[in-house]
Symmetry: C2
Subunit: 338 residues, 2 copies
DNA sequence: TTGAAAGCGCTAACAG
DNA sequence: CTGTTAGCGCTTTCAA
């Protein structure tokens, strides 16, 4: 870094100690609270800290104390398609970390090399993994390193680290029920992109299976297809599904973008949502704000999920699935009478 | 962190030295390359490092060397509306940082308190600021701290730190020219949300002024309004603008979401893009992929802008504006004859 | 209730 | 070409 050089000389604990007329140890203890300090000393030390504008050196502290108060957030940057959906998680993580006085280091998912480096060099005390997959290399890295970790997103197979996620099973069932309760008999799932299935991402498979199971239990046939969130992708999926079952009136959509596209494609065909077709999906609250008509959807509380990941890192606990809450919009209505 | 405790005992440089039969200093020099080491010693040391799986302790290193190889990325999380648009910048920053062997620490913009803490505790060597504003408190913090910094986004007023951004002046002019060249005589700007103007964000004002100036120079009247990227917001803006100038046929849009909404609102009114109305905007390539019809737009190379920010931190240099390149879609056509 | 002092792991003089 | 050594700033025994 072509630096102008930071502050002339940073204040050290020794200077604070001198100024307060105490030993460095005492300053340290005032800061950590690991020892009872007399009221008067407390005050003097705190004033000295204030006056000298002292901040402990993180490196020195980590060297001595063996912890950094930094957590690594491993983001799947490789997955461009789902990128926009990532930010709220990141926000939740960063903001909640602050509550604990922790910082967040952003790390890429390149097979775990970055995780390894960051952990082994003792830059972080814990790791949060996004989009954990079956046989995920990063899990092996984590395990080998023996570092506290939390998965943001429920892996498909049980793993040794706790996780937070939306209850996609319940979400799938809720979507089916909502449509069935409204009278729909022919329902199809526009699932997440094929890539999410190839990568064996938990949410893709779980949602698919839940929808299939719920339809089955209701005595209805299952129709479903992975869909790319593009115009052509959605169009193609729609055609394929309609060909498979021309009587389709209800759609379940896993991607906000596809919900958007579907409505428009149907409109272009002169069809109306929800008069001709009903639509229900899974989405983050803030992501559906711009949809017309307002989407009826299962809310994915991304920010809260991010926060919870930090909490799990703070105090170990069991994995948590957020309940699937259906928020009413205007895309679900009874099917047209024929 | 409720830890299982990391590796039993981490390897230190002393152990490596012993194993290689050299002094710690030599190991250090092999690693840093700051001294010429004989071929044979090199080999022995490297093998020892390999065998012991040694990684230097970042804290110790930073304590001694006075640098961390970490940069802070200050993200404006408060601005929910622009959130989705942030990720590509973040990616560009993180990925390019990797090229330099740097890590990225995510920091919030809460008035600069986090920046202050992270810099004063010597956790980072440099700072990248997103969305710098006039009178931005963070700038004062940066200045006071005397830490190398780069702005991602050109501030409205000249400041003491280099910046990277899209050339919004050129972008504005390019949009006008593209429409005018096509025959449009009545053009309106659907600008970024009112909040971006209140916050005096550079891109908001610059784009607005450039469009106004370009129209003026062409002898056309300027019409423009800040727009919230919601259905109602866009609808309201459209109505207001049409009321102001019913002959409007060309729209310039600063937000991808608004481009999307505008097309749909027009379609619902039975109007077609580009047959009845033409549309051109500013957007990130990957964000317009799902638009129908494909948007004609000035490309905002977000990832590259993020990369460039890191490069500016690496080797100080002048601010850089990326040229405004119009990418052809299918939303611009000659106005309808009347 | 407080201090003195050792040492965390590393780098960079200084010395050879 | 390589080794010895003095700390970087902090926390934490151990001792008072």
């Amino acid at each position: 870094m072509a630096g102008k050089g930071a502050e002339l000389t940073a204040t050290t604990i020794a200077e604070v100690a001198k100024r307060a007329g105490v030993s460095p140890a005492t300053v340290s203890y005032v800061l950590s609270g690991n020892r009872t300090i007399s009221r008067s000393t407390q005050v003097r030390v705190r004033r000295a800290i204030e006056e000298l504008n002292y901040t402990p050196h993180a490196g020195a502290r980590s060297l001595r104390a063996g912890k950094t108060d930094v957590v690594a957030l491993v983001v799947p940057f490789y997955d461009w398609s789902s990128e926009s959906v990532l930010m709220p998680f990141v926000y939740g993580v960063v903001d909640q970390a602050r509550e604990h006085g922790w910082k967040v280091m952003l790390v890429t998912s390149d097979g775990g090399a970055d995780i390894d480096s960051v952990v082994r060099s003792k830059m972080v005390d814990g790791v949060i993994l996004m989009e954990v997959r079956v046989g995920d290399e990063r899990l092996k890295v984590i395990e080998r390193l023996g570092i506290p970790a939390v998965a943001l997103g429920m892996p498909l197979e049980p793993v040794n680290i706790p996780f937070v996620d939306l209850d996609f099973e319940a979400a799938g069932r809720a979507c089916v029920q909502r449509l069935v309760a409204c009278g729909h008999q022919h329902i199809a799932l526009l699932a997440s992109p094929a890539g999410t299935f190839e990568k064996k991402l938990g949410y893709a498979q779980r949602f698919w299976q839940a929808v299939a199971a719920a339809l089955d239990e209701t005595g209805l046939r299952f129709h479903g297809l992975p869909v790319e969130p593009t115009v052509e992708g959605t169009q193609r999926a729609l055609e394929a599904l309609m060909a498979e079952e021309p009587a389709l009136t209800g759609f379940i959509v896993q991607t906000e973008a596809v919900a958007d596209l579907l409505v428009r494609i149907l409109q272009q065909k002169g069809k109306s949502v929800p008069d001709d077709f009903s639509l229900i999906g899974v989405a983050w609250r803030d992501a559906v704000k711009h949809l017309v008509p307002p989407l009826t959807y299962v809310n994915f509380p991304s920010v809260e999920v991010g926060r919870k990941a930090i909490e799990l890192l703070a105090k170990e606990g069991p994995g948590i699935l957020f309940p699937a809450l259906v928020l009413e919009g205007a895309t679900v209505a009874p099917p047209p009478r024929t």
